[in-house]
Symmetry: C2
Subunit: 362 residues, 2 copies
């Protein structure tokens, strides 16, 4: 087997111990004689897996008891439509645009009601999160939507110990797809946190929604049962068949993370990984990152070759060296290293070594 | 490892060669150094998997070129809502109720427009598909919705060589979740065929939609891009991240089926399996199946113990004998053996042997 490091933005690298365990259990989960893929979602084996997975996530994020955790089909884009369906209730909603994904969230929400853009960095090319003093917040909005880490442009909300959030009296709804479990957060500051699984959680096809109790039951009458958070919460996410195998892998990832020391432990590693790469980029004349330092993402690190005529050669020899998926999102170009929880620091070091060598050769 | 036979209605048994191959490839797909779960959905490795999977499905079902094949997040219940969103266009729709799932489809569609029930067997407890002569079809309906095999009650549309369908000038939309790939069908007779994966295709979290070209582009303006079939068709099902690992497993299942001789070959086996179980039930005074003979499902075979006081003992010793998930759906009670493509005839024989023994002991 080739030793590679996979910098894909998602679906993304998974912890090797998780894959080894999934491999070992593929045909026979815990002596059941069944693969997890083959289990009825209502059988005791799978309901046990689901309960353990939820309990471990609650432990990892210290989720308060007045929050429900939903394990839903789809990803963050599906939930982009579910949010207004479940929360608007005839009101308007506030959205901040700090990158391509929060802009997409606005596009997906507009069909359901009036969306106010309270701040946007689109014209500056998404290089920072604007000062909260300038946000045009509406006190009567149903909610304020933010994306706390923008995967494409590598812009993260600032905060050394906890994310700094805008002051508002309305519930904050946060897309944390590419940030969840990478750093400690205070869940009680949010109304809703949602995350597609395929970055820090598990395989694509699962979206986790953490929602405060009092926000359930506000769904538009046209909301199909499968998309109604209250119906799903009342039925342990089983008003339909949930994505059982993705939930199982998520559970293995959570166990791996707990064994490692939980979110505070991985956060330290993530800071070290991000510093390693940013420090090298900043020290180099060959590469550049354009994001404001306080908003630099720890998970997704976009960078550009100052001479972009070398882009193709950079990607090709990176691939040959086993450093995969470094091409930036087609919307922004350049390069991007996504260094999620499962990326070991050795992978980041290998990337820095490669970047140094490439720079000195060109 | 315990040898078991898993009669779950879904998620359900998968072919053992498929699980063995998934196990072997778990950490390194074809020398890529990556698990399929870790691959970018836009990378050449995964797009190759998706293209091969679609091509193999087209081969297996002889899908005409004027049909698109979509690989979407979710399951049939998600699509229940997508169907009216994508097809109603201000018209009404006709629905036939022949079991719990087609009834559920009606419930999920009502929020979007006027639904006409053209036939229903609800009051008779879903024991047959009513004579088409009595269906109150509307020639101006946007479509006619049917569920060609009802998983809960084991009622299948009649037809020895091909399913017999009602005569209508409007597009037929068929939920084939628990029937697809189990028998030959003529795709050109349908406007839309859809199927949740977790019965005859692969893991839960994937829904396959086969849709005729001329039905694309009719979506309600409020349809989010992710749920708009035309947008998905124009973007190779990648307007969002598709459920990549479920698609990969589906691809392995399709390869297994092609190697076996395709749908005609598995259909012969399925007929033999169903006959084995129905013949035994019919020959017995201890068990009974209530479905009209011409509408008996080949995939889901519900049966009752004439003396239901033995139900618990039947299930417990079946479990002890490695015959799992035989409890009927909670809505209908009794027992149910789901014998999808991946259930070998040895499993059905083992069940019949067990039923004989249990009957003679009680």
């Amino acid at each position: 087997m080739t030793t590679i490091y996979n910098f894909s933005a998602g679906p993304a690298v998974l912890p090797k111990p998780v894959l080894l365990r999934a491999q070992a259990e593929m045909l026979d989960w815990h002596g059941s004689g069944m693969s997890v893929m083959e289990m009825s979602h209502r059988g005791q084996e799978f309901t046990g897996i689901l309960e353990k997975t939820e309990a471990d996530l609650r432990t990892l994020l210290s989720i308060p008891t007045n929050y429900k955790v939903l394990f839903l089909q789809g990803g963050a884009i599906t939930e982009n439509a579910m949010i207004p369906l479940n929360l608007l209730g005839g009101k308007t909603a506030d959205y901040a645009i700090t990158g391509g994904w929060s802009k997409r969230s606005v596009d997906d929400a507009r069909a359901y009601g009036t969306i106010n853009i309270v701040a946007s960095t689109e014209t500056d090319g998404y290089k920072h999160v604007p000062d909260y003093a300038g946000w045009k917040l509406n006190k009567d909005a149903a909610y304020l939507h933010i994306c706390t880490n923008e995967t494409m442009s590598g812009v993260e909300f600032a905060g050394e110990h906890d994310l700094e959030l805008p002051q508002t009296n309305v519930p904050i709804v946060a897309d944390m797809s590419s940030q969840i479990l990478s750093r400690t957060i205070d869940v009680s500051k949010y109304g809703v946190i949602y995350a597609g699984a395929q970055k820090n959680i598990g395989p694509a096809g699962l979206c986790i929604v953490i929602v405060r109790d009092d926000l359930l039951g506000r769904a538009n009458a046209q909301t199909p049962a499968v998309f109604n958070w209250k119906t799903q919460a009342d039925n342990q996410s089983m008003i339909n068949t949930p994505p059982t195998y993705s939930i199982y892998i998520a559970g293995l990832v959570f166990e791996w993370l707990i064994a490692l020391g939980g979110v505070p432990a991985i956060e330290k590693i993530n800071i070290a990984k991000a510093n390693l790469l940013y420090d090298y980029i900043d020290s180099s004349d060959f590469y550049v990152n354009h994001v404001a330092i306080k908003n630099r993402s720890r998970m997704n690190i976009p960078f550009y070759l100052r001479d972009e005529s070398h882009n193709e050669a950079f990607l090709k020899s990176a691939n040959d060296a086993g450093l995969l998926q470094l091409k930036g999102h087609r919307a922004v170009g350049g390069m991007r290293a996504s260094i999620y929880n499962a990326m070991p620091i050795e992978g980041v070091q290998a990337l820095v070594n490669y970047m140094q060598k490439f720079a000195s050769n060109h």
